[in-house]
Amino acid sequence: MTRHVVASVAELPPGSRKFLTIDGRPIAVFNIKGEYLGVLNRCPHQGASLCEGPLIGLAQSHNPGEIEYARQGEIIRCPWHGWGRSR
């Protein structure tokens, strides 16, 4: 496995992201609540630049009208059709 130096810790605070290209593949690196994650920047649906979407949470409901909103900031929402991708 090849190692790539992406950024210094100060350059990637929690909630931020950076875009890079490794071996021709578009990648985004996120800091999700202190954890660093690399994601291929291509949505499996229609190939959109997935990682440009907002970071949201997971909305669930067991009763119409009542919404439990958890994991805020851990789901990337594709900027095209809104498909969600979680860590």
Partner: protein, 361 residues
């Protein structure tokens, strides 16, 4: 022509109220006087003008009186002719158009009593729908509970074009009552005319209103699904009556595509729309808005991806087919049995409840 088989259930017949005076015996003194002193004559909806070609097949139109107003005619022309074991009465009388909730309720109660006495009591094959008006949900629930005591009522009847989309939570006590009492919800073509009868305003023509019923069923289905009615009431069955169904596959593809991207707005929709339709929604057979080629219709059945969705109906006395050609060409024997017998019985559990001839409480 595919021959129908005996023992089916006709899920959509329309006994007609001859005149508003027919309901007078079933109104209390106050409402009886209101009707007579204020000169109210009849509650005929524009959705079905009495003499419109769609309202009656020519060979079913009586010399006098409204089509569908004579039980002997219905026996001969629909029940005996198609050899059904049961037929479900969906009275189309314009009670929903009235704005006063008290008046609407009085007329609905009278209509339901009239149906029980003058149709269900006289013909053991008949079952009924409880007509309610949605001006007052509380009153509608009370009427459902009252009529449900008579096991010959198997369904609650609503119109597809009302005051609000039917998925809205304000209506949920009606669905709760129906589920609790083992009643199906029937949504029938027709408008209360409290909103323009198309998605883009008031059309000019009767034919336009009739075509628009299909679009209204589509938007209602969207509402019922995305508002989460079936998440709250998974056991509830709803039947789209006189809706057409050939629009269903492409409608579901579109709804499914948007649901995938917009789930965050309605996170209680816990299953794909197609699954919800398969488990909770049914469609009466007539009218079949069929392609000219029967092969195409069979392809469409494949697109629907379920053989449990259709329920046999004649839509008597509306003019939807000629002669005995109530079933489309080229149906397999299996599918005929499903459409005529199995699917209706699975949808209307109350059909199995034994009934003694009894009057309404």
């Amino acid at each position: 022509m595919t021959a129908p088989i005996a023992g089916g259930v006709d899920c959509d017949v329309h006994p007609a109220v001859p005149h508003l005076t027919s309901l007078l015996p079933y109104l209390n003194d106050y409402w009886r006087d209101q009707v007579t002193t204020r000169g109210m004559t009849d509650l005929i909806s524009q959705s079905y003008p009495t003499h419109s070609p769609i309202t009656s097949r020519p060979d079913w139109r009586p010399a006098q009186g409204k089509p569908g107003s004579n039980p002997d005619d219905m026996r001969a022309q629909a029940l005996d002719r198609f050899q059904v074991s049961h037929a479900i009465c969906n009275p189309l009388y314009g009670v929903q158009m009235v704005f006063s909730e008290d008046m609407a309720d009085a007329f609905c109660r009278a209509l339901n009593d009239w149906l029980a006495k003058e149709w269900l009591d006289r013909e053991p094959r008949l079952r009924g729908s409880i007509v309610v008006s949605l001006q007052s949900v509380e009153k509608a629930v009370a009427e459902i509970e009252r009529c449900a005591q008579d096991p010959r009522f198997v369904q609650v009847l609503l119109l597809v074009m009302g005051d609000m989309p039917l998925g809205r939570r304000a209506y949920w006590p009606i669905y709760a009552a129906a589920e609790r009492l083992g009643l199906t919800i029937g949504i029938h073509a027709g408008s209360a005319y409290h909103n323009p009868p198309t998605s883009v305003g008031w059309g000019s023509y009767h034919i336009e209103d009739y075509v628009a019923q299909a679009q209204a069923f589509q938007t209602q289905l969207t509402s019922l699904i995305v508002e989460g009615v079936f998440a709250r009431h998974p056991g509830l069955k709803m039947v789209m009556l006189e809706s057409g169904f050939t629009w269903l596959p492409s409608f579901l593809w579109r709804l499914h595509k948007f649901w995938r991207g917009l789930r965050m707005e309605t996170p209680w929709v816990d299953r794909a729309p197609l699954e919800i339709v398969r488990s909770n929604i049914r469609f009466s057979l007539q009218p079949i808005d069929a392609p000219p080629d029967p092969v195409t219709l069979n392809r469409l059945f494949d697109h629907m991806q379920s053989d449990e969705l259709l329920l046999f109906s004649t839509d008597y006395p509306h003019w939807q087919f000629e002669g005995d050609a109530v079933l489309p060409d080229g149906l397999s024997d299996d599918l005929v049995k499903k459409i005529m017998i199995d699917n209706p019985h699975a949808t209307y559990p109350r059909l199995k409840v034994p009934v003694a001839k009894e009057t309404m409480p």
